[in-house]
């Protein structure tokens, strides 16, 4: 039954991620700001869930499922490689640094609030 919890959680997370990505096509910023925000927010709320949810099944649904499906590592690196191939090295480095530093901090903040 656990695969249902993971699968349903991830589907909801992925759908919300897609809605936000569609929104980003309307904002004319030439930087992958939406994926950045998605990954930071996802890490933060996983921290909150990890600290406050003690039911194993619910944590699978919210953590492994929802947060896992909401955040993405594939798109992050695809966008990083695009910036690299466009020779926009500063943006590439900035995206790298912001994602990993604020993302990990986000999880830690989530654990403690």
């Amino acid at each position: 039954m656990t695969f249902l919890l993971v699968g349903f959680g991830a589907s909801i997370g992925a759908f919300i991620r897609n809605e936000l990505t569609l929104l980003s096509q309307k904002i004319k910023i030439d930087f992958p700001i939406i994926t950045l925000l998605i990954n930071i927010i996802g890490a933060l709320i996983l921290g909150i869930f990890t600290a406050h949810v003690h039911n194993g099944g619910l944590l699978l649904f919210l953590g492994t499922g929802f947060c896992g499906g909401f955040t993405t590592f594939g798109t992050l690196n695809m966008e990083l490689s695009q910036l690299w191939f466009q020779r926009r090295f500063f943006s590439c480095f900035l995206y790298f640094a912001l994602t990993y530093i604020i993302g990990i901090l986000g999880f830690i903040i989530g654990i403690h609030i």
Binding site: T2, F3, V6, G7, F8, G9, A10, S11, G13, A14, F15, R17, N18, T21, N39, G42, A43, I45, L46, G47, T50, G63, T64, G65, C67, G68, G69, F70, T71, T72, F73, G74, T75, L76, N77, M78, L80, S81, W84, F85, F96, T99, Y100, G103, I104, G106, F107, I108, I111
Partner: protein, 136 residues
């Protein structure tokens, strides 16, 4: 109605992708707590996504629905950033610095290299297809 359709398309992909990741996590469970499952999912996903978008999509004339299911749904849920941050924190708490640095380096550098390789592989295959056609 359109939103329901979009949800169902993503649902199929995300259901499969997330459970592949979950399955790998169970399969590669290690005694020292090193998150092999997340690592394998993230690196393979980072490699396949650019190959899908830059090669398979054109090569097999995949519809936008199939791409939505495979990229946003399947690969988007197969890979994860949030679990990576959780793994990092757990390794930090365990005090095993060697494992922590190893995990961070392989994920951060390896993920980027996998994406670059995925792009190169896509370009190489597209070039080979093109060269093959011009010979005929």
């Amino acid at each position: 109605m359109q939103k329901v359709k979009t949800f169902l398309i993503i649902f199929i992909g995300a259901f499969i992708g997330s459970n592949l990741r979950y399955g790998e996590g169970l399969l590669f469970k290690s005694s020292n707590g090193f998150p092999y499952g997340t690592l394998v999912a993230n690196l393979t996903g980072a490699f396949i996504l650019p190959f899908l978008i830059h090669y398979l999509q054109d090569r097999y004339h995949l519809s936008s629905r199939i791409i939505l299911a495979l990229s946003t749904g399947l690969l988007g849920s197969y890979t994860t950033f949030s679990t990576f941050t959780a793994d990092t924190y757990k390794l930090y708490q365990s005090g095993n610095w060697t494992l922590l640095i190893t995990y961070l380096t392989i994920t951060i550098v390896g993920g980027f290299i996998c994406a670059l390789l995925g792009n190169y592989w896509a370009a190489t295959r597209a070039f080979m297809d093109c060269a093959g056609r011009s010979k005929d």
